[in-house]
Structure formats: C-alpha cells, structure tokens
C-alpha cells in the first residue's frame, strides 16, 4: 500500500534538525516583533518562549501518530478514515502548501522591492527563483535536504551582525518584567505561533528518514533551537528600539541591520537581504516538494508534473498580490489555516489514531 522509498533516497536522522529548523526560520523573522509587541508590549519575549515550548507538545503528538502508522500523514488519515476519505482529507494540504510557497516568495520579493530595488518586476524574479526551485526538487529529496542544510549553515554568520546593536541596547526597556496580564501574553503567544509554523512538514517526509526513532531528538532540538534564536532576536530588538519606534517599523530586523557598519562595507542591509535569499530558498522548495508529494500520493500524478503544475500556479497567482494590504491578507489567512491544521487537527488526529489503534487490536 505504501510505496517503498529506496534506501538511496533516504536521509540520515541528523538532517531532520535542519529541515525542521529552516522551515520555521523564514520570512517571519524579518518583521514579527511589531505584531507581538502590539499585544503584550515589551513582555512579549515571554510569549515567544511560551509559543516555542508549546510546539514540542504538538511535535510529540506528530511523532506518535507517525510511529503508529509508520508512514506519512496520508497514511495516518487512511488509517483513521479509510483509504478514500483519507485521500480526500489530505488534498487540502496541497492548497495550504501553495499558500505557503506563495507567501514566502511574495513577501521576500516585497522586501526586495521596498528595500533594494524599487522597480524590480515581481514576475521575472519569481520565475528565476521557481526555475531554481524546480532544479532542486528534480534532484530528489536528498538534494532538497542539502539545500536546507546549506540554508542553515551558510547564513549562520548573520547572527554575529546582531552584536553591532549592543552599544545601542538599553535593557531597561524590558523592565519591569511581567507587566502585562496572562491573557495578553497568551494572545501574543498565539500571534507568535503563526511565525513559528513550518514544523508540520515532518508529517510529509517522515517515510524518507532512515531510522525515524533516532530523528526524534533532532526534530525537538531543531524546534528548540528556533525558539532560542527567536527569543534572542526578540530581546535584542526590544532593547534596541523604544516602544513607539518599534510600532512604526514594519521590518524591525532589517532596520537593525541599518546600523551595522564594517570597515569594508558601509551599509550591511543589502548583503543581509541578499543572503536572506539562501534562507528562504529551502522554505519554497520544501513547500513545493510537500505539495507535489501529496498530489503524487493522492491522485497519482507524477511528482515531476506536480512540481511543474504547482510552480505555474504560483507564478500566475503571484501577480495578483500587488499592495501591502493584499499581501497582509494573504499572510494572515495562511497563518490562520496553519494554526488550525497544527493546533486543532493534529491533536484531533492523535486522539483518533489512538482510538483506532485500540479498536483494531
């Protein structure tokens, strides 16, 4: 029933760290600080931690589901609902991943259009990017993982650029701690979780992991690492900006880069944005790969054609998002769907799988 994945297409469990981490670390990090500070003020860094820790619970549930059915999410759906219904229920994921791919690409191009090249055409850059994504996905899942690996390792030096904010930092901005109600913190945690999304791709590439039991700790470590990074950046941002200033800056992280000054390069944000290309490339590739994989499993469309189809749809629809509001709407819809899929559907599926498992015994 499950198509067998050849050994040479599988990845080692250690690489799951990079896959999970890179999917979470995408375009959200450039401007998430404003949103969470709106709800919980400068205590929002606590919300960041709360949201991050809640993911471990969901991740644990995901692993339990996948271990029981020993396959990907479509196998889990089929296990609970039967083959036909299982397939039908998994299909909306294609739409979801299309939205994710679209959001990632459009928001990145928007950043480039605002910060670097005001007259860059959306379509042609998206086209070149999609050609690259197709080239990567056609190489197989190992190549996609390779890009994820390099997408984490190569831009990691960017962390050091945040050290330039230390002369400007005023940690008193964060005091007094816990000045907001728990309700505010939870609301901000909800908003933060929309930025954290991405770990659900584990549901789709689980069959491609050699020795999935060993990968559990790496996946959790990946999520933990993301949480730490986001918290650190939040605290740095909060100490760098005053509250009123932060509310005005749409992309706070990029504004921070404006202050980086090195002897051989005067304005760092252009290098930073160019490097961001490498950070979001794996996001796009993994999203397209997952979408085409569902198409292959559900409707038996060859993955090569699936990728081409999805890329064409992305390229056509990307032209419809022209203004800031439209892009914002897209982001918020994708976020809401994502939250529902992860925090509502997964626990539901978890309970159902346990019930069905007991029944089948």
């Amino acid at each position: 029933m499950e198509p067998l994945i050849p050994e040479k297409a599988k990845i080692s469990p250690f690489l799951v760290f990079f896959l999970v981490h890179t999917m979470q670390f995408g375009i959200g990090i450039l401007g998430f600080q404003r949103l969470i500070a709106l709800t919980a003020g400068y205590d929002a860094w606590i919300s960041v931690i709360i949201a991050g820790l809640s993911i471990h619970v969901i991740l644990w549930m995901m692993y339990r589901i996948l271990d029981t059915v020993n396959g990907d999410i479509m196998s889990a759906n089929s296990y609970v609902f039967g083959k036909k219904v299982g397939r039908l229920i998994t299909l909306p994921y294609v739409l979801y991943f299309l939205c994710v791919a679209l959001t990632t690409l459009r928001t990145f191009i928007e950043v480039v259009q605002v910060w670097m090249f005001q007259d860059m055409s959306t379509f042609w850059y998206a086209f070149a990017f999609c050609v690259l994504a197709i080239y990567i996905i056609f190489g197989g899942f190992r190549i996609v993982t390779g890009i994820a690996f390099f997408g984490v390792v190569l831009p990691s030096y960017l962390i050091f650029t945040f050290f330039f904010t230390f002369p400007y930092a005023d940690l008193r901005n964060l005091l007094p701690v816990f000045d907001h109600s728990i309700k505010d913190l939870v609301k901000a945690a909800y908003q933060m979780s929309l930025t954290y999304l991405g770990y659900e791709v584990l549901l789709f590439f689980y069959p491609f992991i050699k020795d999935p039991q060993k990968s559990k700790k790496w996946a959790h470590f990946g999520v933990f690492f993301t949480t730490i990074l986001y918290t650190a950046i939040t605290i740095i941002t909060f100490s760098y900006f005053s509250e009123g200033q932060l509310q005005k800056n749409i992309w706070a992280t990029l504004t921070i880069w404006k202050v980086v000054e090195m002897p051989f390069v005067e304005r760092f944000e252009y290098i930073g944005i160019a490097n961001w290309n490498i950070v979001i490339l794996p996001n796009l590739c993994i999203a397209l790969w997952c979408g085409s994989r569902i198409l292959k499993r559900a409707v038996h469309l060859k993955q090569k054609y699936g990728v081409l189809l999805l890329t064409t749809i992305v390229l056509i629809t990307i032209n419809f998002f022209k203004t800031r509001e439209q892009i914002n709407t897209l982001i918020s819809y994708t976020g809401k769907i994502s939250f529902f899929l992860n925090y509502v559907y997964i626990p539901l599926l978890f309970i159902l799988v346990l019930i069905v498992k007991k029944v089948k015994k």
Binding site: F117, W124, A128, Y168, F241, S242, E243, K258
Partner: protein, 353 residues
Amino acid sequence: MKILISLLILSTILAGCIQKEIVDDVNLETGAAYDYTDGKIRGTALVPVYLSDKTVENKTFSSSSNLSRDFLRDVQRQSSDPLVSGSLKVVLFGERLAKEKGILDLIDSFQRDPSIGARLYLAVTEGDSKAVINGSYGERGNAIYLSNLIRHNMNSKDVPKTDLQRFLFDFNQKGKTPYLPRIKKLNKKAVEISGLSFFRYGHVVDTIPPDKMFYFKLLVDKYSKGTLKVNLGKDAAAIESIRSNYKMNLVSRKPLKVNIRIKVKAILNEYSGIRVTPKKIKMIEKKLEEEIEVECLKLTKRFQSKNIDPVGFGHFIKSKTRKFNYSKWEADYRYLKMNVQADVTITESGVID
C-alpha cells in the same frame, strides 16, 4: 520546447532587469541642510564633486517647497546627474526651522526612506544651515568633515552620542526627550560645535553652552576619553582619560525621589602647583565631586523647569513601576526630586610626582 525555454530566458534578461545607479553617473547627496524662510522649507543638498586630481569640490543645490523632502525632486532639475540619497551622512537643521516649525516631518521622511542609514548625524545650526553647509572645510568634502567632526567629539570629547537611531529612540520613548548638537560657523573655513539643543515634540526648547556639555554627558552617556579642568585656589589641575558611569536609583515613591550616582575615574594630566601629594589628590577629587554634583543638579532642575527629560527619568521610573501611567507622569515630573552623588577617583598622575 527548447525554443520556449530560450524565449523565456531571453525575456527574463530583457524584462527582469532593474534600473542601474552607476556610481560615477550619480550625484551622491552626502549632506543636507534645511531652513525655514518665508513660510517655506528651503532644502539644500550637498554633493561632492570628485575631480581628477583626487581633490573634492563641494557643490550645493537649493530649492524651496512646502513639503519637507520634496525639494529633492525640484533640485533634480538643476543637477546634471540624478541625485541619490543613499550616502547621506549629515543633516543640518537651521535654528529657525528647529524652533518654530519643528523637525518632525523631516525626521519622518528619513525614517521612511529605506536607503538612509541609521548612523546619520543630525545637528542644529546657529543661524541659517545653508550658510554652514556652504563653506569649504577640509579637503575631503564638507559632509565628511562635518560628520567626522561630530563623530570624534562624540567618541572622545564632551558631546553625548547621538545619531538618527538614538534620536528616534529617544523621541519615540515615552519617558525621554531627544537632543542634538549645535554647530556654529566661525568663518568660511571653520565650524565648531557650540553646545546642545533639546527638543520637545520636535521643537527646540532649550540649549546649553559647551562648558556644560561635560556635565550633561556624565548624566546620559559613558565617557571614555574626556578632559576637564578644575581650580584649587590658585592652582589648576587638568584631568583626562576620564571614564564615567552613571546609575540611577529610585529612593522613594511618595514623594518621587531619584538618586543618580556618577562614578568617574581619571588620570591627572597637568598640575600647575609644585608637587602632587596624596592629600592634594584627595582635595582635587573632592573639588571635582562638588563641582559635578552642583552642575548636574542645576542641569536637571533646569530641564525640569522647561518640562523636558533628556536624562530619561520617566523611562527609568517606568522600568521600576508596574502599570506605569504616562499621562500621570507628565504632571508628576515637575514634582520629582533629584539628587546627584559623584564619586571621583584619580588613579594615576602621570610619570612624575
């Protein structure tokens, strides 16, 4: 199939390209000056002209309009190469503009423009800023001269560190008000920093002269290389390599009382008396402490009377209070009691005694 691919690649090349800004075909606006004359804002752009013998000539373009940054558009009609503002280093505001109209609109445009850096230096000029920017200072262009002047004074002398980022930080911070250095033109070839201007809602409401800048810097910034002269009766002593640190302490809430503790470490550099004994050093230290305490308190009281808070008492108290109410603070600020405590240590006195 192959034709389709080649067509697509060709189209990418032709349609996907972006406008170039080749570095020698653009005029880099390195400095800007804004004045308020006849109800209009007059903007002046300073552009360096790089001559073939490696010298730099300064060229300015001026234009007036009602909108703040609009002048750039008008100025393009006077300039042979397009003006770009990515290299902006220093912006000067004329005194009248800063006092009467306020600089908030201009600051907003600097924030909004993605090509302007965060380390942009801002300053207020005595008199018209256009006159100041129209000099010929130094050999590398006015903008570099002015920005270097401001920078080295901030790093090692009495001017407290401030640039666009810090200005915006202070301005948007609810318990603090911003400040900028003042520049005065001495003659066609020289300028000097002549004090600090303090802002409230974008308007200049107060200024302090250069000799008071030292004490202000002790209150808001850390020193690393300052110098100071002090009199002891008929002898004078000069200390340098001053390193300072300040710490605020909330003593009581009702009545609101804040204690500022300033720690200063210095090296004795010059002494006009005969010999420096440990007793003399102690006397110098004590005299310094007195002076610092008196002057700093005077400054804080002066700020209180003018209803500005560049030291940041509001921000400090907010960090210690839960559910801080800013509107209440606006009223309470004038009842705040401040106390300054100075602690001076002279570590070395040079190689002789």
